[in-house]
Symmetry: C2
Subunit: 198 residues, 2 copies
């Protein structure tokens, strides 16, 4: 045991974070010891407060301290489109583009038989109900191009189409600034498939 117990415990706590190894955890713990006492108190309070106050919006399941969330409460948004994402982080990514003006629906995961996650663990039922109820015209699936993503898209679209709701998926292809020469075959195949008239 090299560190004095309270310090060892703190390092251990920090090491639980994703992407934080022993060295980073140590650096963070020493940083805490050097912080002014009131900053340390504020940090601890922020942690507890975020955990206590941030919940899932009961309408779109985005993380928020309010229910309905800030986005759902904004009546100026376009109610005819609904963007479906796997995770709250994806909402943030899309909001940053400032391009999308409709509402969101967070699935809280993707269908993954390997991890034992079926549609009933996701907010799929709520999505179908909502799309119908709110007379949504188009559901945009902003879902990652992975096996889990493809399975989820297939499942959701099979439920939405019979309801007469237009279901689209975001485009896959070359990222901006990239080079065709270095693109992988699957990306290039997807880019070809998704070609559009200029």
């Amino acid at each position: 045991m090299y560190f004095t117990p309270p310090l060892a415990r703190l390092i251990e706590e920090f090491q639980r974070f994703p992407g934080v190894g022993p060295k980073s955890a140590q650096r963070m713990a020493f940083y805490v010891l050097n912080m002014p006492a009131q900053d340390v108190k504020r940090l601890a309070e922020s942690i507890v407060e975020a955990k206590e106050k941030v919940k899932h919006c009961s309408r779109c399941f985005h993380l928020s301290a309010n229910d309905p969330c800030e986005i759902c409460s904004n009546k100026k948004r376009d109610g005819s489109t609904l963007c479906v994402v796997a995770d709250s982080r994806d909402v943030i990514a899309l909001e940053k583009t400032r391009e999308y003006k409709g509402y969101y629906h967070v699935l809280n995961g993707l269908i993954s038989p390997l991890e034992g996650r079926g549609p009933e663990q996701l907010k799929v039922r709520e999505l179908i109900h909502r799309s119908h109820q709110e007379s949504v015209k188009e559901v945009i699936l902003a879902i990652n191009p992975t096996i889990e993503g493809d399975a989820t898209v297939l499942y959701i679209s099979s439920l939405l189409k019979p309801l007469g709701i237009k279901t689209t998926r975001i485009a896959f292809g070359l990222p901006m600034g990239s080079d065709l020469e270095y693109a992988d075959e699957i990306t290039l195949t997807r880019a070809l498939e998704g070609r559009r008239e200029v």
Copy 2:
């Protein structure tokens, strides 16, 4: 403002940590939201507890929840040698070798005129007093091979030598497993200077 306020505040707090950028801070904050409530409470308590309990040992200035620290309280260690380091982290690094059995003295920094840090900001006076008082035979300076380190070594050795205390500095040279071909000139020069009969 993309994140709900309590979440935005937590991300901001995490971003203050050294080596934690916006993306890592975001990942850490989302991780907190997904942690069980009692784990979140324990994390917050560990932070406050470490800050409250961990102080500098009044004898060697190593970080510890006890005074004197765990190392100074260990009467089995060799009182004739004293290892001088800049930082508490260096004590941990040296302890991990399991080679050194003497006591330590943490300077809490190095002499750096550029950053306005002179010997009076460091625990140099305490080192000299202690070395004399405790009849130390050898002071080992385990100080980084930098400009600040060299200046600090020069200053401390000039004070210790008149007291008849043997003053040594750890060796600099090729790190184990490295390749001479790729070593920089300064390291190689130091390695040549420090050559020993085999």
